[in-house]
């Protein structure tokens, strides 16, 4: 017998057997008793504890379904791979901007029928938080913890600069003027700053929205990166570079520590005014007690608007964590039953109080805000109701679009390009990306039929 002839078929057999066995692993037989559903969530620490409290409460309230909570880092990537591998969790806690990208390739299930049978409607929510999960006329996700932003300012730094801490800026022009008064220098270098558009840097893509710009025309599905409002906003960003110098600003910024540390620019009283989210209170509480006690030395107020655009008052960036049922989930019905509990007033308030955020629901219990530790929580709950609320564009190319906007912001703030040049480039590039994306999506859908 020639052994060599046997070798290859034997190897092929082993490979096929291994592939077959590996496919079998995820299909665990259902044991008698409650249906176990897996729930992947990104949060850890106190935010994770809040989710665990909700899961525990749900598990203890009924005995049909048991939720197994698993804390997963890089959740959007792992969910993606789990979906393509055919072994996803029953519920995944993704980020709002993931929804369109995942829905485009049917990686998440539409929840319309479930919502109907559980009587969950848009009216139950502050509209923007429901709309984040509503894409191409389907509900693909429902909110878990929401977020909104406001101008946070350090009252002590106002006092140190001889300013009235109760007179906060309401227009961009006032913001700039106050920033100029607060800035201090040591040995010729900036030691304290009033405001910097690049700090904390999470909404560098969105300054145009503060000036009334849009990044995306919802009706036509077209990119509007270089709209006059967006160019105006990036020109405003550039004024800070021109005023203080790109090198000087970057030297100053390089002295800041991690966001989640006492060396955070705002917490260490290096920057007096910052655009920040509802979560900032948690970090103030943890790392900068001097801002809280003996007197409240910080405040959150609506972010200023351009003086000539009073219609843009109360602008806020709204975003949220979402719950989805990935395609291929074993127990979608049971998964939605759990989601519906999170969406109930009881479940949502337990979650949002634990994470110290506001509720995305339109109805909130009387005691929720009075018991809430964040003294400005009502503001964060009210701002998203404003008509000027902005959430990231719902398009599958958003991650790439966002990267381009951030790169443009950096080029403008480093003085390498003018606002117009940088945004014209983004406009052309992202339009091309979008055209390709739509064509590819169409091809994949047609091939999938």
């Amino acid at each position: 017998m020639d052994f060599r002839k046997l070798g290859l078929p034997a190897l092929a057999l082993v490979v096929v057997w291994a592939a077959y066995k590996s496919e079998q692993i995820p299909r665990i037989e259902q044991k008698p008793g409650p249906v176990h559903i897996t729930y992947w969530e990104k949060w850890t620490e106190f935010e994770g504890d809040a989710i665990k409290a909700v899961v525990d409460r749900y598990n203890s309230r009924q005995n049909r379904i048991h939720v197994d909570l698993l804390s997963v880092s890089d959740i959007e990537k792992k969910t993606l791979l789990a979906v393509s591998g055919g072994n996803p969790p029953d519920v995944a806690g993704l980020y709002g901007p993931n929804v369109a990208q995942y829905a485009d390739d049917s990686a998440v299930m539409p929840l319309d029928d479930f919502c109907k049978s559980y009587h969950i409607t848009r009216d139950d929510y502050i509209p923007v938080y429901f709309d984040i999960g509503f894409y191409n006329n389907h509900i693909y996700s429902l909110p878990s913890a929401p977020a909104s932003t406001a101008l946070h300012y350090n009252k002590q730094m106002f006092r140190d600069a001889g300013l009235d801490p109760e007179k906060y800026p309401t227009t961009i022009e006032e913001l700039d003027a106050l920033a100029d008064k607060i800035v201090t220098r040591k040995n010729g270098h900036i030691d304290r700053s009033g405001f910097m558009p690049a700090e904390p840097g999470w909404w560098n893509w969105g300054w145009g929205c503060v000036f009334g710009g849009k990044l995306w025309d919802v009706k036509t599905g077209k990119v509007t990166a270089n709209s006059p409002e967006n160019v105006r906003a990036y020109n405003w960003v550039r004024t800070y570079t021109d005023k203080y110098g790109a090198g000087e600003l970057s030297t100053f910024r390089s002295g800041f520590g991690n966001f989640s540390s006492p060396q955070n620019a705002f917490l260490s009283s290096k920057v007096a005014m910052e655009l920040q989210g509802v979560w900032m209170y948690n970090f103030i509480d943890q790392y900068a007690p001097s801002l809280e006690k003996p007197v409240l030395n910080w405040a959150a107020v609506p972010f200023p608007h351009p003086a000539d655009r009073p219609d843009l008052a109360n602008m806020t960036f709204a975003d949220e964590d979402v719950l989805v049922i990935p395609r291929g989930a074993r127990h979608p019905k049971e998964a939605f039953d759990f989601i519906s509990y999170v969406e109930s007033q009881e479940g949502m308030e337990l979650l949002c109080m634990g994470q110290r955020k506001h509720s995305p629901l339109s109805h909130v219990s009387d005691t929720f805000y009075s018991k809430h530790p964040n003294p400005y929580i009502k503001l964060f709950a009210d701002l998203p109701k404003s008509p000027t609320v902005v959430s990231p564009p719902k398009t599958g190319i958003w991650p790439e679009y966002q990267a381009e906007m951030v790169a443009a912001f950096e080029q403008v703030s480093l003085g390498k390009k003018t606002a117009k040049e940088a945004l014209d480039y983004v406009q052309n590039r992202v339009t091309m990306i979008n055209d390709d994306y739509q064509a590819q999506l169409k091809a994949r859908r047609e091939a999938g039929k």
Binding site: M1, F3, G7, L11, V14, V15, A18, A19, K77, L80, L81, V83, S84, Q101, Y102, D105, S106, A107, G188, G247, S250, T251, F252, R253, S254, G255, G396, I397, P399, E400, A403, V406, A407, E410, Q411, L414, K416, R429, D436, Q440, A443, R444, R445, A447, G448
Partner: protein
Amino acid sequence: MKASRKEALTALVFVSPWIIGFTLFLLYPLLASVYYSFCNYSVLKPPVWVGLANYRNLIRDDVFRDSLVNTLVYAAMALPTGMAVAIGLAMMLNAKVKGQTFYRTIFYVPSLVPGVPLAVLWLWVFSGKQGIINAVIQPWLDALSRALVHLHLHVTLTAPQWLTNATWAKPALVLMSVWGAGNAMLIYLAGLQDVPQHLYEAAELDGAGWWSKTWNVTLPMLSPVILFNGVMGIIGALQIFTIPYIMFPGGSPARSTYFYAMYLYDNAFLYLKMGYACAMGWIMFVITVALTVFALKLSSRHVHYGGS
């Protein structure tokens, strides 16, 4: 069954875990990635054949071009620097001094630190305001500025903003790459041990000094090792990912540190363009092979193999 056949079967059974692992986890993905590079593939839906479209799109993609240029520039800076430092260290540590083993260990240990903690550590080292590098440099620059005043040159010299200035970000990474020179150093050190003593003795008889011996004996005898480390260095530098990915999110400032592997990763896992990313991977493979062949050709006249 013949004894030799039985032996072969036994051998195959013993290597089968590797063969299976190699086939499943390396060979299959490798071949699949060739196929995907010609597909419109998002991972979530089955791939759709698009021919050369991904490759065509790459040609007109500015960010692809920029990331490739960034990577080549970085490689061109990091490779010679790393080699010079590693050879220099190896030669110093080859000297017979007291505590030789201790020094060898000390210089080797840094290369054992994994990428992620290394990146976090160097964020602090390079920090413009509190960083230890600038804390050392700045007083010297101040002194120099004062000295220049005497020459009627009124300039204020400030230490570079390593992390936030587009000009200095790449040199910062090059400086950091030297930290990992320990591995190459160890290979050079082994190469140095192989240089026959009699060549040095012959050179000494001819009146050669330290420099002559280094130039005419050490480096030629070390040349195969230099070539090996050079090729490994090219491969390593072109694949740079972990450290800039952590230190410079999104390739900031202004994409000056947006390297090839970072763009590839973003395409694959952030933009869900797996087909495009596969095409990028294969282009990088071709570039790496081309540079390696170039290095081999270039070196054929300068590499001396002691045994031959």
